[in-house]
C-alpha cells in the first residue's frame, strides 16, 4: 500500500515491524500491541480510530484514541476539560481522548435508559489519576453529539474554596452568594448551549430587585444575560436556570421541542463536604457549611431525581477535596454519610489504571507526537521503566513523559 511505503521511508529507524492488514476506516485491527518496539507501517490505525462520533464507539475501539473536533472543544468545553489536558491539546494541536471501557459502559447505559422516568445517577469513582474527569468529558461529548442540553460544572470544589467575594444573599438572609463564580459559569453555559437559549421559555416571573424582573415566557437567553450582566444576582439566576431546566427537561410542557438534560458534575463530593470559606459572624469567624452557599444549594436540588428526561453524570475527586485523606477513593469515603444518602441509589462506574493494551496505545501516541524525546525511551527497556515508574497510572505517566 502506498501509505505503507511512505511511512517506512519516513521511519528509517524501524527495526522490525509487523505487516498489518488495514480494513475500512473505523474498524480496528485484531491482536494489536503485542510487538512493542515497532512503529507500525500504518501508525495511524493502531492506536487511533477515525470514528469521531462517540455514539459509534464500541469495544472494538478500546485503547484507541479519537480526535475531538476543535469546534466541539470550543463550544462544549470552554471550561470543562482538566487543565493538564488543555495544555496537552495546546501542545499537540489536537485533542485526542482514549476510548476506555468505563466510558463505553456509561454510554451504553445512557443509550438504554428510559427518559420518561427519573434520571439515573452515575458516579465515576476510582483512584487518583485514573481518568475520571476525562471519562466524564468523553461521555459528555456523546451527549452533545446527541443534541442534549449540557449543564456542566467542571469542578464543584472550585465553588467551595478560594472564593474571594462572598456576599450575603439578596434573596435569603442566611445564605451566601458567589457572584464571580456564578457569572463565570453562566457565560460558559451560554457558549455551550447557545442553540437552546432561544427555544426554552421561562415558566414564571422572577423578580430580582425592585426594578428588575424577568417575565414569564421569556427565552432562557434573557435570563442568562441577566445573570451575566448583573453580578449581584447571578447566583440566584443560576438557581432559576436550573429550576427551569428541571421543569422542562421531560418535554412535557408546550415548549418547542423536548430536550434531554445532561447534568455533569465533576468533584461531586464537594457538595456534601466541608468548605474552606469563612463567614464572619458578629461574634466569631466560622466555616461556612455547604448548604449556606446558594450555588451549592441549587446544585443539590438538581442532584435529586424528582425530575425526568435526562441523566446525572458525576465523578468523584479527591485531589481538590478538602479535609479528605489521600487514600480515600470509594464513594462512601468521599461522599460522606450525608452525600451517600442523598445520592443513593446510583450506578457506580469504576475507573482504573491502564491495562497493557491501553498503556501500549498511550506510549505509541506519545511516540508519534514526538513527545518522548529521550532516545532511551524508545527502547524496550525504556518502556519497561515507564511501566514500572508509573504503574500504568495515566496521570503519573503523563507527568513522567512530560520531562522526557
Amino acid at each position: 500500500m502506498n501509505l505503507h511505503k511512505l511511512s517506512s521511508r519516513l521511519c528509517p529507524t524501524v527495526s522490525k515491524f509487523r505487516h498489518l492488514h488495514i480494513q475500512s476506516s473505523g474498524q480496528q485491527l485484531e491482536a494489536v500491541a503485542v510487538e512493542t518496539e515497532s512503529t507500525e507501517p500504518n501508525p495511524l490505525s493502531v492506536f487511533r480510530t477515525s470514528e469521531q462520533n462517540p455514539t459509534y464507539h464500541s469495544e472494538r475501539h478500546t485503547g484507541q484514541y479519537y480526535t475531538l473536533p476543535p469546534a466541539h472543544i470550543q463550544k462544549l468545553f470552554p471550561h470543562g476539560l482538566p487543565p493538564r489536558f488543555q495544555l496537552q491539546i495546546k501542545t499537540f494541536n489536537e485533542g485526542c481522548v482514549m476510548v476506555r471501557p468505563p466510558v463505553l459502559e456509561l454510554i451504553s447505559y445512557l443509550k438504554k435508559a428510559d427518559y420518561s422516568k427519573p434520571p439515573l445517577r452515575y458516579i465515576l469513582y476510582g483512584d487518583i489519576g485514573t481518568g475520571k474527569s476525562m471519562s466524564l468529558s468523553h461521555a459528555l461529548h456523546y451527549c452533545y453529539t446527541q443534541g442534549w442540553l449540557i449543564v456542566h460544572i467542571p469542578d464543584a470544589h472550585l465553588w467551595v474554596k478560594n472564593c474571594k467575594e462572598l456576599l450575603p444573599s439578596s434573596s435569603r438572609p442566611s445564605r451566601f452568594d458567589q457572584p464571580i463564580q456564578a457569572s463565570q459559569w453562566l457565560k460558559n453555559f451560554k457558549i455551550t448551549n447557545e442553540g437552546f437559549l432561544s427555544k426554552i421559555k421561562t415558566t414564571q416571573q422572577y423578580v430580582w430587585t425592585k426594578r428588575e424582573s424577568t417575565e414569564k415566557g421569556q427565552p432562557l437567553g434573557v435570563l442568562v444575560d441577566q445573570g451575566v450582566n448583573r453580578m449581584k444576582s447571578s447566583s440566584d439566576v443560576v438557581g432559576a436556570v436550573l429550576r427551569e431546566l428541571r421543569l422542562q427537561a421531560g418535554g412535557t410542557t408546550e415548549g418547542e421541542g423536548a430536550f434531554k438534560l445532561a447534568v455533569a458534575v465533576d468533584g461531586v463530593n464537594a457538595l456534601w463536604g466541608k468548605t474552606s470559606l469563612k463567614k464572619e459572624d458578629r461574634t466569631m469567624v466560622c466555616w461556612c457549611k455547604p448548604e449556606e452557599l446558594t450555588l451549592i444549594h441549587n446544585l443539590r436540588k438538581m442532584m435529586k431525581n424528582n425530575w425526568s428526561g435526562g441523566a446525572i453524570l458525576t465523578a468523584l475527586s479527591q485531589t481538590g477535596s478538602l479535609f479528605k485523606p489521600q487514600s480515600a477513593y470509594l464513594p462512601s469515603e468521599l461522599l460522606g454519610e450525608e452525600g451517600f444518602d442523598n445520592m443513593e441509589p446510583f450506578v457506580p462506574v469504576s475507573v482504573s489504571n491502564y491495562n497493557e493494551k491501553e498503556f501500549e496505545s498511550c506510549y505509541l501516541y506519545y511516540l508519534e507526537r514526538n513527545w518522548l524525546q529521550h532516545p532511551h525511551s524508545r527502547s524496550e527497556e525504556g518502556k519497561k521503566e515507564l511501566i514500572f515508574l508509573s504503574n500504568k497510572n495515566p496521570s503519573i505517566l503523563e507527568r513522567l513523559c512530560a520531562f522526557l
Binding site: 487514600s327 521503566e385 504503574n391 497510572n393
Partner: protein
C-alpha cells in the same frame, strides 16, 4: 606485674618500676611512625626475648582461666577471652585492651650496625639506606643469573621463550609502607618506583619462574570480595513458586521483603501499592534500580514491609533488601557486577550528633 597485658596506649599505668618509660606502638606501618629515625635499638634483644617468654606464660595462664586447652590456644581465642574478661565500651577499637605477641607490638628495629671499633658491618652502610640498596643489589644479581641461564640454554640449543610464567592475577605489589616495614628503613617514592621497575624487568625475562618464590615475597594476595556475601536461600511455595526473603537497612529504616518468582511486577509495601506509598518519583526509581540492573523487570512480585526513618531512607532500605533477595536468583558473575555497582553495600551514613 606481667607486661604482656597492655591496657591502653594513653594510660601508661601498667609500667613496671624496673623498666624505663617506653613508647607503645601497635603497627608502625599503619601509624606511619618514623622507623629509621627511632634509631638503633631502644629495646635490647634480651628484653624482647623476655617479653616473648612472658607472653607465652601469660597465654597458658589465660587458657587455664578460660578452662581451655593451653596447647591449642590460638590468637583468636586470646582476643575472644580478653574481650570477655575486660569488656570495654570504647568506640575506638584500637583503644580497647588487647594481648598480642611482642613481635606485633614492638617495632622491628635495627640492631647496632657497627662493631666496637666503629667499623660498620654491612658494605653498603655509607649509602645511608643499606637494606634498600642491598635488596636492589640482590635483585640485579638474580637478573644476571637468569641471563647466564638463558645463554647456557641457547648454547645447548634448548632455548624456548614460552616457559612457565608466574601467575600474577589476584595479587598486587607491596605498598611502599609495607616495604619500609620489611626493611626497617625509610625509602622515598622514587626509590620505591625504582624497585618496582627492577622487579618488572625481572618478570619480563623468560625463565623468571626460577625466582618465583623470591618474587612472590613482594606480592600480596587480594581477597575475592564477592565471596563475602551470604546469599539468602531460595525457598519454594506449596505451589512450586520460588521466593526469597531478605532484609535491608538504611539510616534507622528497616525493611524486609519477599521476592516471588513468576509474578508480573506488582509491588506491595506495608499493604499499599508502591505508587501510593512512594508518591515521589525518586523513591520509585530507587526501587526499580536493582531489577533494572539485573534485567528482570516484569518477572517478580514483591511484598515488603518497612518502618522507621523517612521516605528516602525507607526506599534505600528496600532497595538493599531487593538486591540481596535477587542474589539467590542470579549467577556468580552478576553478583560481582552488582557488588561493583554498589547495590549490595549498606550505606554507612548515619545522622551525626548535634555539636555546640
Amino acid at each position: 606485674m606481667p607486661l604482656w597485658l597492655i591496657v591502653s596506649a594513653t594510660m601508661d599505668a601498667v609500667s613496671s618500676v624496673k623498666l624505663p618509660v617506653r613508647q607503645i606502638y601497635v603497627s608502625s606501618s599503619l601509624w606511619k611512625k618514623n622507623l629509621a629515625a627511632a634509631g638503633p635499638q631502644k629495646f635490647t634483644q634480651e628484653f624482647i626475648d623476655k617479653q616473648v617468654e612472658e607472653f607465652e606464660v601469660g597465654k597458658r595462664h589465660l587458657a587455664n582461666m578460660m578452662e581451655e586447652d593451653p596447647e591449642t590456644f590460638t590468637q583468636e581465642d586470646i582476643d575472644r577471652s580478653i574481650a570477655y574478661l575486660f569488656p570495654s565500651g570504647l568506640f575506638e577499637k584500637r583503644a580497647r585492651p588487647f594481648m598480642k605477641h611482642p613481635e606485633e607490638i614492638f617495632p622491628k628495629q635495627t640492631a647496632i650496625q657497627w662493631d666496637a671499633k666503629g667499623r660498620p658491618f654491612h658494605f653498603l652502610f655509607y649509602t645511608g639506606k643499606q637494606s634498600y640498596y642491598s635488596l636492589l643489589h640482590d635483585v640485579y644479581e638474580k637478573i644476571l643469573a637468569i641471563e647466564r641461564h638463558q645463554d647456557k640454554m641457547r648454547n645447548k640449543g634448548l632455548f624456548t621463550s614460552d616457559t612457565k610464567q608466574i601467575l600474577l592475577t589476584g595479587s598486587r605489589w607491596l605498598l611502599k609502607e609495607e616495604i619500609e616495614e620489611n626493611l626497617v628503613e625509610n625509602i622515598s617514592d622514587q626509590d620505591y618506583m625504582r624497585l618496582i621497575q627492577l622487579m618488572e624487568k625481572l618478570l619480563s625475562m623468560p625463565y623468571c619462574s626460577l625466582e618465583k618464590e623470591f618474587i612472590l615475597k613482594f606480592r600480596k594476595q587480594l581477597e575475592v570480595q564477592s565471596s563475602k556475601y551470604e546469599i539468602p536461600a531460595l525457598q519454594y511455595d506449596p505451589q512450586g513458586v520460588a521466593f526469597s526473603v531478605a532484609d535491608g537497612r538504611r539510616k534507622t529504616a528497616k525493611a524486609s521483603i519477599t521476592l516471588r518468582d513468576s509474578g508480573s511486577g506488582n509491588i506491595t509495601i506495608n499493604g499499599r501499592n508502591y505508587l501510593h506509598y512512594f508518591p515521589v518519583l525518586q523513591n520509585r526509581v530507587q526501587l526499580m534500580f536493582p531489577l533494572l540492573f539485573v534485567g528482570m523487570m516484569g518477572r517478580f512480585d514483591i511484598e515488603g514491609s518497612v518502618e522507621g526513618s523517612g521516605h528516602s531512607a525507607q526506599a534505600g532500605a528496600l532497595r538493599l533488601a531487593i538486591s540481596r533477595a535477587l542474589l539467590s536468583f542470579v549467577s556468580e558473575g552478576e553478583v560481582e557486577k552488582m557488588r561493583q555497582a554498589g547495590l549490595l553495600t549498606a550505606d554507612p551514613r548515619i545522622r551525626e550528633r548535634k555539636k555546640p
